[in-house]
C-alpha cells in the first residue's frame, strides 16, 4: 500500500500546479468580452444550421454490418488460447466458423447493401409519412 502514497503525492502536485497556473492567468490576463467570442469557431467562419443533424441512413446500415462482424472476433480470443492444445481440430472449427460469417458477408454483398449508391432509393415512404 505504501506505493500508493507516491501516486497520491503526484495527484496532489498535479492538481495544485494546474489550478495555480489557471488561477494565475485568470488574475493577470485582461478580460474583454465581445459577441464573436461565443461562436464555436473563432476563426471567422459562421456556423451553418444546427449541430444536431441527421446522418444518412446508409451510415447505419454499414455500421450494423460492421458491428456484427466486429463482435464475432471475440470468439477468436478463447480459440487462440486453446489452439496449441487442440491443434488441427481447432483450426478446422475456426474455418467453419469463418465460412459461416463469409456466407453472411456474401449475402450482404449480393443484395447490394455494401454499395454506397443504391440503385433504387426508397424515399417515397418518408415523404408519405411526413405528409408531403
Amino acid at each position: 500500500m505504501i506505493g500508493f502514497y507516491t501516486v497520491l503525492l503526484f495527484i496532489l502536485t498535479g492538481a495544485f500546479l494546474v489550478s495555480f497556473t489557471v488561477a494565475l492567468s485568470r488574475f493577470l490576463a485582461p478580460t474583454k468580452d465581445y459577441p464573436e467570442k461565443h461562436i464555436p469557431y473563432e476563426c471567422g467562419e459562421l456556423p451553418q444550421g444546427e449541430a444536431w443533424i441527421q446522418f444518412n441512413n446508409r451510415f447505419y446500415i454499414v455500421a450494423l454490418i460492421f458491428l456484427i462482424f466486429d463482435v464475432e472476433v471475440i470468439f477468436m480470443y478463447p480459440w487462440a488460447v486453446v489452439f496449441n492444445d487442440m491443434g488441427l481440430l481447432a483450426f478446422i472449427e475456426m474455418f467453419i466458423f469463418i465460412f459461416i460469417l463469409l456466407v453472411g458477408l456474401a449475402y450482404v454483398w449480393v443484395k447490394g447493401d455494401l454499395d454506397w449508391i443504391k440503385p433504387k432509393p426508397r424515399l417515397e415512404h418518408l415523404a408519405k409519412a411526413k405528409g408531403e
Binding site: 481440430l89 456466407v103 456474401a106 449475402y107 449480393v110 415512404h125
Partner: protein, 489 residues
C-alpha cells in the same frame, strides 16, 4: 461426452445448419421467378430434420457436448413437433411470401433454435437458444417492411423480448452465484443438498420466470401478445402461437424439473422442490390469472386475429395450470394438448389467411354469412372454434380432459373448477364467430370460389381435429413414451 463423440448425436441440428447455409447461397443465384423453390426446399429440409430427430428416439438418453445439451425422448418429442409446425407454416405462407426467400430461411433458423431449446442442459445454452428463437422471431414479425402494423408489432415484440430476456439472464446469473455451476444437473445437486438461501432463490426464480413467461405469453408478461398477433403477418402469428410456444414450454418444464425441483426417490413420477419457494402455489395463481385475463379480454374483440391472440393467452393458462402438480401426468397432458393445439390453431389461422383477401379483412364483421357462401370452409372454421372451446367430441375436449385430470388427481380441485368456468366463458367469443357465419343475412352475397390447395390444407388440419376427439390412444401412448427426462452431466 466429449465434443467429437457428440457430433453423431447432433445430426438433425447439423443438417439444419447445413441446409440453412446452402439455402442462403442458393438464394443468391436465383432469379425472382424461381424464389419459390426455396420454400419447397425449406419444407423438405425441416421434414428431413424432423425425421432425423425421430431416428434418435430409440437411442439411450445421454448428455452431449460435455453436458451442454441432453439427448432424451422429451427433447426429441419437441424437436419433432417443431419440425412439423415449421412444415405446416411453410405451406400456410407459401402464397404470401412466394418471392421472399429470406422468410423461409429465417423460419428454418427458428426451427434450429427450437431444436436446441428443449434439449438444453446448461444456463449458457438456455440463453443462446432463447435468443436464437427470439431474435429471428422479431425479424419475422416485421418482415413486411412497409406495413405500419407489421413494423410496429416487430418493435413491440423486440422491446418486451429484449427486456424480459435481460431480466431472465440476470436471474440465471444469481442462480449461478448461489450454486457456482452453470450445468443444470450440477445446480440441482447443489440446491438439493446444500443450504441455499430461499429468499435469494425466490428472487432468482421470479426473474427467470419473466423470461420464460414472456416466451410462452403468460400473465403478467403477456402485454406484447395482442398487438404482435394482430400486427404480424397471419402466417407468422400462427407460427408464433404454436412453434416457439411449444419450445418455451419444453424449456419451462426442463427448468422446473431441474432448478426448481428434483425427482423424489430416484426416477419417480413426481418431483419435490429443491428449495422451498412455494413454486406450485405461485404457478397456480399465475395460471388462473392468465386464463381469466385471456378469456375476458377476448370477449369483445372485433378482429379475429386479435381475439385468437387473447385466446392463445387463455390456452397458455390451461397448460400452465397443469404444471402446478410437477409430475409426469401433467407433462404428458401438456405435450398432448400441444399437438391438439397445433392442429386447431393452425386450422383457424389458415382459414383467416386464405380468406382475408376474398372477404376483405379479418374482422368478425367480414365473416357474416360465410356459411352460405362457402359452407365447407365455414363448417371447418366452426369445428376449429368448438375444438378451441373444448367441446366434445372434438380434439380440444380430450386435451382439456387430460389437463384437468392431472390437476384433480393431486387434489387441486378449486384450480380445476376455475379452469372449467373459464372454458365456459371462452364459449361466448368462439361462438360469436360461428354465429356470424351461420345466421341468415339480409343481403345475399355471392358464393366464394376457393382453390383446391385451400381445401386440401383445411382437410389436412380438420381431420386430425375430428379424429383425435374420438380415437386418441396412439397419440397419448406416444406422448407418454416421450416423457423420459435425462438427469446427469
Amino acid at each position: 461426452m466429449s465434443n467429437l463423440n457428440s457430433i453423431q448425436y447432433f445430426i438433425p441440428e447439423l443438417f439444419l445448419t447445413a441446409a440453412i447455409l446452402a439455402l442462403i447461397i442458393v438464394d443468391l443465384f436465383l432469379k425472382r421467378k424461381q424464389k419459390s423453390i426455396i420454400a419447397y426446399l425449406s419444407a423438405a429440409a425441416s421434414l428431413v430434420a424432423g425425421f432425423l430427430a425421430y431416428q434418435q428416439f430409440s437411442l439411450p438418453a445421454t448428455s452431449i457436448f460435455q453436458g451442454m445439451l441432453v439427448l432424451d425422448s422429451f427433447a426429441i418429442f419437441f424437436k419433432i413437433l417443431a419440425a412439423f409446425s415449421t412444415v405446416i407454416v411453410v405451406f400456410i405462407s407459401l402464397d404470401k411470401f412466394r418471392e421472399t426467400a429470406e422468410y423461409f430461411i429465417l423460419l428454418l433458423i427458428v426451427t434450429l433454435g427450437m431444436f436446441i431449446m428443449p434439449a438444453v442442459n446448461d444456463i449458457l445454452m438456455i440463453i443462446i437458444a432463447m435468443e436464437i428463437v427470439g431474435l429471428i422471431s422479431y425479424v419475422l414479425a416485421g418482415i413486411h417492411k412497409t406495413d405500419l402494423k407489421s413494423t410496429e408489432a416487430a418493435l413491440k415484440y423486440m422491446i418486451y423480448g429484449a427486456v424480459s430476456t435481460g431480466i431472465m439472464a440476470f436471474g440465471f446469473s444469481l442462480i449461478y452465484g448461489l450454486t457456482g455451476h452453470t450445468n443444470l444437473y450440477d445446480i440441482q445437486m447443489t440446491l438439493a443438498s446444500g443450504h441455499v438461501n430461499s429468499v435469494a432463490m425466490f428472487i432468482a426464480f421470479m426473474m427467470v420466470l419473466a423470461g420464460l413467461g414472456y416466451k410462452i405469453a403468460m400473465v403478467p408478461f403477456h402485454f406484447w401478445v395482442p398487438d404482435v398477433y394482430e400486427g404480424a403477418p397471419t402466417p407468422v402469428t400462427a407460427f408464433l402461437s404454436v412453434g416457439p410456444k411449444a419450445a418455451g414450454f419444453a424449456l419451462f418444464i426442463r427448468f422446473l424439473v431441474t432448478i426448481v425441483a428434483h425427482p423424489s426417490s430416484g426416477a419417480a413420477d413426481t418431483f419435490v422442490q429443491n428449495v422451498d419457494i412455494q413454486a406450485p402455489f405461485l404457478i397456480a395463481v399465475l395460471a388462473v390469472l392468465t386464463m381469466t385475463l385471456g378469456n375476458f379480454s377476448a370477449l369483445n374483440q372485433k378482429n379475429i386475429k386479435r381475439m385468437l391472440g387473447y385466446s392463445a393467452i387463455a390456452h397458455v393458462g390451461y397448460m400452465v395450470m397443469a404444471l402446478v402438480v410437477f409430475n409426469k401426468d401433467a407433462f404428458g397432458a401438456i405435450m398432448f394438448y400441444m399437438i391438439v393445439y397445433l392442429f386447431m390453431n393452425f386450422g383457424a389461422f389458415w382459414i383467416l389467411e386464405s380468406l382475408s383477401s376474398k372477404l376483405g379483412g379479418e374482422d368478425i364483421e367480414h365473416y357474416k354469412g360465410l356459411g352460405y357462401r362457402d359452407s365447407f370452409t365455414a363448417v371447418s372454421m366452426a369445428v376449429f372454434m368448438f375444438s378451441l372451446t373444448g367441446l366434445p367430441p372434438l380434439a380440444g375436449f380430450i386435451g382439456k380432459v387430460y389437463l384437468f385430470a392431472a390437476v384433480i388427481k393431486q387434489g387441486w380441485l378449486i384450480l380445476a373448477l376455475l379452469g372449467v368456468l373459464n372454458s365456459v366463458v371462452s364459449l361466448f367469443y368462439y361462438v360469436s364467430v360461428v354465429k356470424a357465419m351461420f345466421l341468415k343475412q339480409d343481403d345475399e352475397l355471392a358464393p366464394i370460389q376457393t382453390s383446391l390447395y385451400h381445401k386440401i390444407m383445411v382437410l389436412i388440419l380438420v381431420v386430425p381435429t375430428l379424429v383425435l376427439g374420438v380415437y386418441w390412444s396412439p397419440v397419448i401412448e406416444f406422448t407418454t413414451n416421450s416423457i423420459g427426462l435425462f438427469f446427469g452431466r
